[in-house]
């Protein structure tokens, strides 16, 4: 019956990190860092479905170690030596700030986590995305303006102006004034815009 207490101790030992703190001492050289990734709008956005939680990776120290999330969003790194570490979260569709985690040998159990992007301290190692990432441009819905603004639209527009507005303008003009202006131009030798038009040329 020697084994009974061993089991008990082990069970208690394993429970502690889940219940209270995100840092627990484990026998041996290192410590265990526990944390959680929380994505508030998971499922609301079309990009990340709940099933995609399985593809979120947590990276310690720039690729030294990787771990994945458990279904409840928790993760843990075991046997982490005392010192300053960097935890990054790799999730498609979200931007996470890397977190600086200080594992102190002197007072174990104390959490020292800081977001490196905005230097905000964390009381618990709960990582939330800073923002969602949209990888695609949103296609603008069709609008008349975009057609008008395109080179072809401008061409058409100019044509319409010349075709319909110019004759109107001519008609509104005083014929006397018009003749004077035309003569003036002819004397200068510059062909007027009106003379280029079939209607205008015919009148002269």
């Amino acid at each position: 019956m020697r084994s009974q207490p061993v089991i008990l101790v082990l069970l208690v030992h394993l429970c502690i990190p889940f219940l209270s703190s995100s840092l627990a001492i484990s026998p041996g050289e290192g410590y265990t860092v526990n944390g959680r990734v929380k994505i508030p709008s998971l499922g609301a956005q079309g990009l990340v479905r709940p099933g995609k939680l399985s593809n979120i990776k947590v990276v310690l120290n720039g690729g030294q170690r990787f771990t994945l999330l458990r279904p409840d969003g928790y993760f843990s790194f075991h046997n982490v030596p005392a010192g300053t570490h960097l935890i990054e979260v790799d999730a498609i569709g979200y931007f996470f700030s890397p977190v600086r985690v200080d594992v102190s040998a002197r007072n174990p159990g104390k959490v020292q986590a800081t977001l490196t992007e905005n230097r905000r301290g964390l009381s618990e190692l709960v990582l939330e995305p800073l923002r969602e990432e949209q990888y695609y441009e949103i296609r603008e819905p069709f609008s008349i303006m975009s057609v008008v603004k395109s080179p072809m639209g401008l061409m058409m527009g100019f044509m319409l102006v010349v075709m319909f507005l110019m004759p109107k303008l001519m008609e509104n003009m005083d014929p006397e004034e018009m003749r004077r202006a035309q003569e003036e131009m002819r004397s200068q030798g510059v062909p007027s815009l009106a003379s280029l038009l079939p209607g205008g040329a015919a009148r002269s």
């Binding site: 720039g62 990787f66 010192g83 931007f95 990432e133 990888y135 395109s150 038009l197 209607g199």
Partner: protein, 983 residues
Amino acid sequence: MDIRVFLLLLLVLVSSVEHGFSLYEDQVGLMDWHQRYIGKVKHAVFHTQKTGRKRVVVSTEENVVASLDLRHAEIFWRHVLGTNDAVDAVDIALGKYVITLSSEGSILRAWNLPDGQMVWESFLQGSNPSKSLLSVPINLKVDKDNVILVFSKGFLHAVSSIDGDVLWDKDFSAESIEVQQIIQPPESYVIYAVGFVGSSQFDVYQINAKSGELLKHKSAAFPDGFYGEVLLVSSDMLVSLDATRSNLVTISFRKEEISFSKTHISYLVGESLGIPVILPSKLSGILAVKFNTLLVFIRVKSEGKLEVVDKIANAAAVSDALSFSEGQQAFALVEHVDGKILLTVKLSHDWNSDFLKESIAMDHQWGLVQKVFINTYIRTDRSHGFRVLIVMEDHSLLLLQQGEIVWSREEGLASIIDVTTSELPVEKKGVSVAKVEQNLFEWLKGHVLKLKGTLMLASPEDIAVIQDMRLKSSEKSKMTRDHNGFRKLLIVLTRAGKLYALHTGDGRVIWSLLLPSLRKSGSCKHPTGLSVYQWQVPHHHAMDENPSVLVAGRCGPHWDAPGVLSFVDTYTGKELNALGLTHSVAQVIPLPFTDSTEQHLHLLIDSDQCAHLYPRTSEAIGIFQREFSNIYWYSVEADNGIIKGHALRSNCIGVVDEYCFNSSDLWSIVFPSESEKIIATATRKLNEVVHTQAKVIADQDVMFKYISKNLLFVATIAPKASGEFGKPTPEESWLVVYLIDTVTGRILHRMTHHGSQGPVHAVLSENWVVYHYFNLRAHRYEMSVIEIYDLSRAENKDVWKLLVGKHNLTSPISLYSRPEVMTKSQSYFFTQSVKALAVTSTAKGITSKQLLIGTIGDQVLALDKRYLDPRRSVNPTQAEKEEGIIPLSDSLPIIPQSYVTHALKVEGLRGIVTLPTKLESTTLVFAHGVDLFLTRIAPSRTYDSLTEDFSYALLLLTIVALIAAIFVTWVLSEKKELQEKWR
């Protein structure tokens, strides 16, 4: 040139600062392709008992755990574990969890079988390195909880399969036993841990499976000693080799006393066949012993008696035994018989009956069979059928069933070593008219549909048709050269020694070649491929020749092993020539000279710093002799902290070989080993094109870039900071960067970043270098840029001087005189860890550059070089703003739209390669790791061509409308004229 500079400026102005690269969601797959792989399979576990999807769970050498569809080979789910998290064992527990043991037995994980979600993860304590064994007993229960037994790092753990809690563990680290096997007979609650103590003692520990209590410890000495590992052949019998490797030893361990029985091998098989190797296949009552190529099956009878059952000459692989109906056990055996493979399924207890015998013809490019996994299924007539999964020499994975290859996966592509390109053949004339007419109609129809799409008039079906049309555009996957140079062949060399040609249009494999020179042979025991180079690029006077590539490799893991060269035609995929070299290959230098057949001259440097010229022709020697004194190279000995410069001296002494040359050391830079350790070097790409040496800055001033092909960037760090991350304090770590001229060995620039450490990734292009490192003080990653300018040409700005001739443009540049250079530098924070760093390259070098950053999330981010401009300031002047200088910010922006991989991941990213196209604005980006990804990007937008979604139909419509309008107005004016005349 001024006009071009002006154009460049204009271009810089036109392209928007925010993002040079962005994509609409419906454009995915138009210019890019993505292929998912898993790597060479190590373990496979089938899950086919239940109705529903048949699947196989595999773990691979790329540290991938994946679930594949047995019918279609698609990946249901896949996880790429870290590089130092190698999978030791895989099994299925409770019929719903995949259990993996990884990281030398310290991490045990359970994955949900249908979707791959990690269910639990358990860290197993232990310090002694040992074998890692995983066993998932079917009906071993402790408190209604199924137990998983793991032996790792000197501990035996019983782990609950529900939540991964360690139920009990037993420490063997104090016992000095080297545990070989953990045996749990299905009918009892006793676990046997067997192993060796020293080399000649055999120990058995009996452990209570419920509590981990030690029940009994038996020990027996075997004076002859053991060699290698033990194999469990039946529930109470183990087999091993003795120390001399000439006897087979059977060990019966479950009785009161451990008994050994020795049988001489040559007595068994009749003759001496060579060194025996026991295959680790579990065949229940039979063991397979391999002698060179001969495989001998030996049955273990009661009392440890052995009997040879069969000898098979060309056997390739044997699977484990699989039990199917009524306790019958079968295993698969694969043989190579004249170019085909012969698959035999045998019953363990009845050797003479072949349950199944199938001969399957197979592509030779797959090589030999290396591993077999067997699975059974019930046929429609309720008899048992078998399917086998085989792993080939080139790492590909095949499923065989009913004498056919059901599917195959080219898993070799998951481990690419090197990449080069080859042009496709030129298009031949003579396209038939009918085809054109049909095309014209199709073309018009397509554009009408497209127009409907842009006008948002298209129905969902139309949209589907449009999307399909765009993706399947036959244009991009044609086998001929195109005007823009988008279509090319990617020639990739994989770790298995196989060469693949991939089409850049759709990523399909055009041909593949398992290089005969890189296969295991008598003279070449451990061949490894090194790199691949363009050998012959015909474009002028050798147009009829096919282009070819040079593959360099070596015959062993060490760098002084003899080299092998192979020349492969890139159109046909045939090996033209292969050379087994007498010298080693330490470095391959492609020289910028070609001979009359457009073969590139290559200089191979061996480990004794002798240079060997290839091709070995007198013409090549002639060309080479002319440039003899202009050839310099350098070598980096990272372990010793030395960089050396070399030059050619004379022909080799002692050997009569006119293609061999001695070298002499010109200079050497020795870094003090107590304070500096080389961790990264970078040079310019040899094929990089620089368009202009001048840079016009804000106030109409000109700066001259210091452009030299011989620039080397070296980064060193403090040896204390080279260890684990997070250990060193900022005070004891520093990063020193150097810019070195590799001809003179002169250090042009040296800079120290205090409180920084590696890893360092660097890229050097034109006159600048960008590098990424970790700043310990801020505890963030940083990227720095150094730009280097030539001051000796600064006076050449005056046009009058140029006209009069008082310039020094033609004055000789001497490497002996100290170059007058000026460097500018700036640092920025960068959020993410980096796996790879590259820079875009274009045909003429006019287009502005983008950095391609492979992030820790296995994505590729394009970052405009203008963000890394040392002339950035907090408040740029109006003139500087016009030049395109971005106001200074402390960190570099990560814009989600500028990920070139958009919402995809290139899992296990290892390298990024950029390939210029003929179209100046555009470049191809190829990212490889476990996955492959290729896309086309335009760093300054496509200023020299119309975009993909340009609507030709709208243009046509406008023209038609304009012509119609002309006629209408003409008619109208005629009428009006007539009326006026009548008046």
